[in-house]
Symmetry: C2
Subunit: 514 residues, 2 copies
């Protein structure tokens, strides 16, 4: 074992020895500019408040994407454009929404429609029937209880599970000990993908049964006490040809649990709901945002270093931490590299991805189009991309980077990160992280990375919730992240060699499961 480690050590040293020294002067320039006159608050406002929720295929998504193209162009970037990546599906625009408890007493209800929900027939009022989470996905139960649901609102609510959620701070930062022992995060196994596919099929069948029952709508309330945060995603009805579901709404924990308890103690509940949404299949095409700083070295400028983040969001808020945060960091990083006149040798390309929230569509199909097709055949551009850097875990500053088990990368990134230790980033781990857009690159054997970020209140409050708004962004963290991303991208663009690779993998993607 020890001899093997020693040999590996020598190999690693040789591997990294082929990479040049860090350009500390450039790093210093980037740090000064990035921590100083940052554009981040301005960019964040124009990616969140101004367009609204950037649901894939929505008018707001396109507005944000076009604004990004215009902004990147205005900074002098080249080839800034929307790049179609393939078929996404239907546009869904919320036109009106209201919900209120009418009986046993009138009380405002905090709730949000699921994206791609169906509409009510005008404003509808009716009684509420309660189903457990288990009953709501038991297609045999739903099949034999169709009459019970007819003309009713179906409330899917489990028992309260976490009554003292508030004892821990909702926001936290990683300790040194946590960084030292960081493991694989957000990774899906083949079994997970199979299970996910099974759950999607059951959910689709349950949606059909809810619809055939003549129920008015399906209302769900979380089982855990999130103290005012309502976590809302969407239906699968965006897919071309998919059937429209019943109106589907997520209630706040407090509203859903109150209704559950009332029904359990024999007090009938009535609601009034109005949900009007417009579906359009006029343009089912999805679009990523792409722009470049052309490389300055005639020998290396055909090679590219990419950075990116997904631009789309869910619809209950304006997707500030998921993932305007990543987009503004990447935009700011490329702005810094461009505006400082650092003349990177390789071409630097930014991508803001579409459809990440549904199944990482934008990045996956971009990789398929440019680098490796669905049959795992490499394309010429595959030999010309050095690396892809991604950010998608909220507003937290960068504490290090996952190398996705690429042992030859580790010493290189350790060298690059060394002058940035004082910014709080010092961890280069061999571990993997998943569930976002670097995976498509990693899968294709292209060095693709997601940085380690402080969690802040991402998992507890903002991620996919109604609180994912501008005021939950932490600008000092985002500035730091932009500086580190800019340094890494710059260094990758300046090294004599492209980054060392792992072989491509024949691996299923999330949406291969269903």
């Amino acid at each position: 074992m020890k001899i093997r480690h020693l040999a590996l050590g020598i190999l690693l040293v040789l591997g990294s020895a082929a990479y040049g020294q860090v350009d500390t002067a450039a790093f210093s320039q980037i740090r000064r500019a990035g921590m100083g006159s940052s554009q981040i608050p301005h960019l964040a406002h124009y990616l969140t408040d101004v367009p609204g929720p950037r649901l894939s295929a929505s008018a707001a998504y396109l507005k944000a994407a076009k604004w990004a193209v215009k902004t990147l162009k205005s900074w002098g970037l080249q080839r800034a454009a929307l790049e179609p990546w393939g078929t996404f599906g239907k546009q869904w625009e919320l036109e009106d929404f209201s919900i209120i408890q009418k009986k046993p007493y009138v009380l405002p209800v905090t709730a949000y429609p699921q994206a791609w929900s169906g509409s009510t027939k005008g404003r509808q009022q009716g009684g509420v029937v309660l189903l457990s989470s288990q009953q709501a996905r038991d297609t045999v139960y739903l099949g034999t209880h169709q009459d019970d649901l007819k003309g009713k609102f179906v409330l899917v609510a489990g028992r309260q599970v976490d009554p003292d959620f508030n004892t821990r701070p909702a926001l936290h930062r990683l300790t040194d000990a946590q960084l030292d022992s960081i493991g694989d995060t957000h990774m899906l196994s083949e079994a997970d993908i199979t299970e996910y596919g099974r759950a999607v099929k059951i959910s689709k069948r349950a949606d059909e049964l809810f619809k055939s029952s003549g129920a008015l709508a399906v209302l769900s309330a979380g089982g855990a006490n999130h103290n005012g945060a309502v976590f809302v995603q969407g239906t699968g009805a965006y897919k071309p040809g998919a059937a429209e579901t019943l109106p589907k709404v997520i209630l706040s924990f407090e509203d859903g649990q109150r209704m559950r308890r009332l029904i359990m103690s024999g007090h009938p509940v009535e609601l009034a709901l109005n949900l009007q949404a417009r579906f359009s299949a006029a343009d089912v095409q999805g679009y990523n945002v792409i722009a470049e700083i052309p490389g300055s070295d005639p020998r290396l400028k055909s090679e590219i270093v990419m950075l990116g983040a997904h631009l789309d969001s869910w619809a209950a808020s304006t997707g500030a931490t998921d993932n305007a945060a990543g987009c503004v960091v990447m935009m700011e990083a490329i702005r810094l590299l461009d505006s400082l006149g650092l003349k990177p040798k390789r071409t630097i390309r930014i991508a803001l991805w579409d459809g990440e929230e549904q199944a990482m569509y934008g990045s996956y199909f971009y990789v398929q189009k440019h680098f490796m097709d669905k049959a795992y055949r490499l394309k010429p551009e595959h030999a010309k991309i050095s690396a892809y850097f991604n950010l998608d875990n909220g507003s937290g500053k960068i504490r290090g980077i996952f190398t996705q088990n690429n042992e030859r990368i580790k010493p290189i990134f350790e060298t690059w990160l060394q002058p940035l230790h004082d910014l709080g980033a010092r961890t280069v781990t061999l571990r993997n992280t998943g569930s976002t857009d670097h995976l498509a690159f990693d899968w294709a054997g292209i060095p693709g990375f997601q940085f380690i970020q402080d969690p802040l209140d991402y998992e507890t409050r903002t991620h996919h919730s109604n609180l994912d708004s501008y005021e939950h962004l932490q600008f000092e963290d985002l500035k730091q992240a932009a500086v580190i991303v800019a340094c890494f991208v710059y260094q990758a663009a300046m090294e004599e060699q492209m980054l060392p690779r792992k072989p491509p993998e024949k691996r299923r993607f999330l949406f291969d499961g269903y």
Copy 2:
């Protein structure tokens, strides 16, 4: 100084020596029953979920009050009844409510009407004008900008002040050090009352100016990031003869701040609002709930020991921690004393107060009716009441008691509390606490006390917010509180003497200020 302290010490010892030993057998019986077969979850459901928000004078308040009377009677308590305390004002019933952002994009808005808000003329849509908090109470500004407000929604929103609210746990318990150094809490000085009166007058004048401007409604958003908790109180339009205000709505911090930023960057905002509320002055009378366990000792049964909490709540949620918590503790305490057959010598009387949230009306006018009139003349019953115990600081367990600077009480309560130390309650402080119903008793020279409670998430999440619901109650805390209250009330009912008093004070009450 030392000699004075010594003299005081002797006096205190003599003072407490006149009081008997703690009945530890009774305390043990109370503890076993109270920590065991508690009725608290059941009582809490029937005071929160079942009636809904218990706004003073509302149908829900009366429903809850009548349910309490019926329940107290069913336990065998005597003289259980609604007791009118005087004129409160108008009933206000919310009938319908919806609000949504329509431009620059459609987005659900989390918001709640202020209690006693006026109604919109059906559903109204219009643009939003932004006022700072300062402009909104500047009657000169409002007078000269009437035309700007006409036909608009007025948004009152300040800049974000606390962006990292989540770094501290929202819920906390008092440490020994905090208990040792506890100070006066929630006390209003004469100057505060004067200032409050001034603010109420300005607010009333501003409401008139908003109304005369022809604005559609006044929407306010908090200035601090409360992460999904919306804090909502009411207007003064409950008063007989008071003018109806414009519709008044509180927006979530996130929604309000987004609109503020949009307007500031030149992006017009439009909303649609429907607020329908019904005012009634059919019964302007206020009612407290009263019930008794008659004393068992012929010599002492004409003397009473009271316990109580306010039954009314605000309207954005079901008032679980403010103050169904206090009511269920007091109900459970008197149930324990009654059901255990302990035969208290003095009469024990429970009061559930009305109108606390507006200005502690129920308790104040009860004291005025029974014990000391507005001209500070004592009534015969004044000589017959030993003490009043109150609970109104949320769901947190009892950690001790405020003696309101009554030095002769301190050693007595220390003796009583000693066998309860292991329940986490050990602090008897000379300090004062205010802002709730024991004050009326204290003011009249009747020993009136509020217990020290663990804060939990009362100030941070639930107090006057849309999250003040059943799932934020901590039942183990409430059980402990019921046990301690029952022990204190029992001991006060068994002592040979009534508790030592301070002289009555000629002090202004909150509502004397306006």
